[in-house]
Amino acid sequence: MSVAAETPSGGRRFAALARDALPYAGLAAVILLFSLSSEFFFNTRNFERLVTDSATLMLVAFGMTLVILLGEIDLSVGAVVALLAVILAQVMDAGVSWPVAVLAVLIIGFGIGLLNGAITVLGDIPSFIVTLGMMAVATGLSYVFTGSISVAIMNEPFLILFYDARFLGLPVPLWITGAAFTATLLFMIRSVPGRELFAVGANPAAARLSGVPVKRRKITVFAIMGALVAMAAVLSAARLGSGAPASAPALTLDAIAAVIIGGASLFGGRASLVRTLMGAALIAVLNNGMVLLNVNIDAQYIVKGVIILLAVVLERLASGARP
């Protein structure tokens, strides 16, 4: 059982550090594989592009880590990213300045997350259903709002700032991802509500008896998820240069998979942000590597399945879990 190692705890230092590093094993193996097979893969420009391109996935996966840690799920993220990008594009199209538009989208995203959380918690129904409903509603609305035509974003400063611009030599999306990662990590293991999440996910009844405001924590997490999704929508819109209703159907499953590949339990109480980062990186590297390697498009699925399996098995073996 590597459960203990997953949770933040007091007394561990080097051994724990080493164990935290082990999930890199699967990712490292894949990177090595690609580097050996394609001359185009292993270089800074490709990695930089990879990081920038996977920022959306990363942000959503960070939020998903918190949600899954609680034993909940959010199936609406892909649809909400698309809807928010559409709104962002339309608002800017209507002449609103980009800071206001971005702020508005962040607030709406936060509100959607809050709504998901509130219905789940106050209605006491599974988040699976609530967010499935939200997914359908958001998808429907993004098509209805646009009449199925993607809305181009012509605001160059916005596009540059959230995609091309650099700060201290690194691309802005990387800074945003890094900031979100640090903030989420701090929240998860250094803040009171964050640490309480582990208890809420593993045993909500016991957490409640320990004085944890379980409902409030759950709603908070969904709201944080909403904000991260909104930030992801901003980056996605800047990257695509448009608000498109079909922009991110694969995002939801990819984000959940990243978290689970990172060793989290779908049923709550166990998740690690560092490992989620690895899981998301694995997915991003896989998608990128397959293009560069020119893997046959039909075989790509099989290769992807087998590599995910190998990475997971390798990681489980390395971290000393059951066979």
């Binding site: 185009f40 420009r45 490709n46 592009r49 391109d53 959306t56 098509y143 646009t146 199925s148 035509i149 993607s150 809305v151 181009a152 974003i153 012509m154 596009l159 995609y163 996605s236 990257r239 695509l240 240069g241 448009s242 498109a244 209703p245 079909a246 922009s247 991110a248 159907p249 694969a250 995002l251 998608n287 990128n288 397959m290 293009v291 560069l292 020119n294 498009i297 039909d298 790509q300």
Partner: protein, 314 residues
């Protein structure tokens, strides 16, 4: 003629082919999905021709995800291919990447509409509007009565071609004095079958169904057959199941509009090659559609699927 404006005009001369071969080019080829006949025929056409002219292809599909397609596009730019051809998931959402290709001097040739920004060498489109207009008009004529009730079965997708097809249907129905009583759409063939069945069931006076994409054609055909009613069908996309229907001699399909995917696949490589040889392409290149009916289906198959054995010969 200032620019090359048709698929035929793109044809490479033997000298040009030799020139292209000598350069050892690699082209990236991105489809918006890989499970439909159109994409596969397009790819097959391109693959066959790439062997002829000696260029390498890197092929990928986006499973209808605009973000994924953008990543794939960027990976191709990163790989330094000599040209990129894509059937866009959403033309409006690829412009950023097109700009990056522009600055890397990689020519881009696109199906599905001009991107919002960046320069492409040309936009290739099938004659969506005209094709669906023609097929629908043929059906309206076969129905023959005014005020005929028509249902549309479509795909809820944000592609320019889909909107053009629907417009073609509306105009043709309007011109013949018919009325559209239902417009339903879905992505799945099984759901489309359900929708078609429900629509037929709910409308006793339904005279015709226009299916605006391949799976809708299959679904409409099957639903009409199961209902046993005399409802006529026009369709956009003629694929093996539609051809088999026409071949059976007992069908409600009046006409199908066939896109020339294999031709487009070939034209894609020719267009990119022409651009590399510094020829000027017109802003839009339209490939004409085939109007496939019970009379001409055998000839049409050979045009639409060159070198592929017709299904009725199996």
């Amino acid at each position: 003629q200032e620019c090359l404006g048709t698929a035929e005009a793109l044809t490479l001369t033997p000298e040009q082919v030799a020139d292209v071969s000598a350069r050892g080019l690699t082209f990236g080829f991105l489809t918006n999905n890989q499970s439909d006949d159109f994409s596969r025929t397009l790819v097959a056409g391109a693959e066959a021709y790439s062997a002829e002219i000696g260029v390498d292809l890197v092929i990928n599909n986006a499973d209808f995800d605009a973000n994924t397609q953008l990543s794939q596009f960027d990976a191709l730019v990163q790989r330094g291919v000599d040209g990129i051809f894509l059937t866009a998931v959403d033309a409006g959402s690829i412009g950023q990447a097109v700009r990056r290709a522009n600055s890397a001097d990689i020519p881009v040739f696109i199906v599905g509409g001009a991107p919002a920004r960046g320069e492409v060498i040309s936009v290739m489109n099938a004659a969506s509007y005209q094709g669906s207009y023609d097929a629908t008009a043929a059906m309206m004529e076969a129905i023959g009565t005014p005020n005929a009730q028509i249902a549309i079965l479509g795909i809820p997708f944000a592609l320019q071609t889909i909107r053009d097809r629907e417009k073609g249907v509306l105009d043709a129905v309007g011109a013949a004095g018919g009325q559209i009583i239902s417009l339903q759409s879905d992505f799945s063939q099984d759901r489309l079958l359900e929708l078609a069945t429900n629509v037929i069931q709910a409308n006793p006076d339904l005279a015709g169904v226009v299916a605006t994409w391949s799976l809708a054609v299959n679904a409409a055909t099957e639903a009409v057959a199961q209902s046993g009613r005399d409802i006529l069908i026009a369709g956009y996309d003629s694929e093996a199941p539609g051809y088999m229907e026409l071949h059976s001699g007992d069908t409600n399909i009046v006409a199908l509009s066939g896109q020339q995917a294999a031709l487009q696949g070939r034209a894609a490589l020719e267009g990119l090659s022409q651009a590399i040889l510094e020829a000027e392409l017109c802003e839009e290149i339209i490939t004409s559609n085939l109007l496939v009916t019970a009379e001409n289906y055998a000839e049409m198959w050979d045009i639409q699927y060159p070198g592929v054995k017709p299904p009725w010969e199996n």
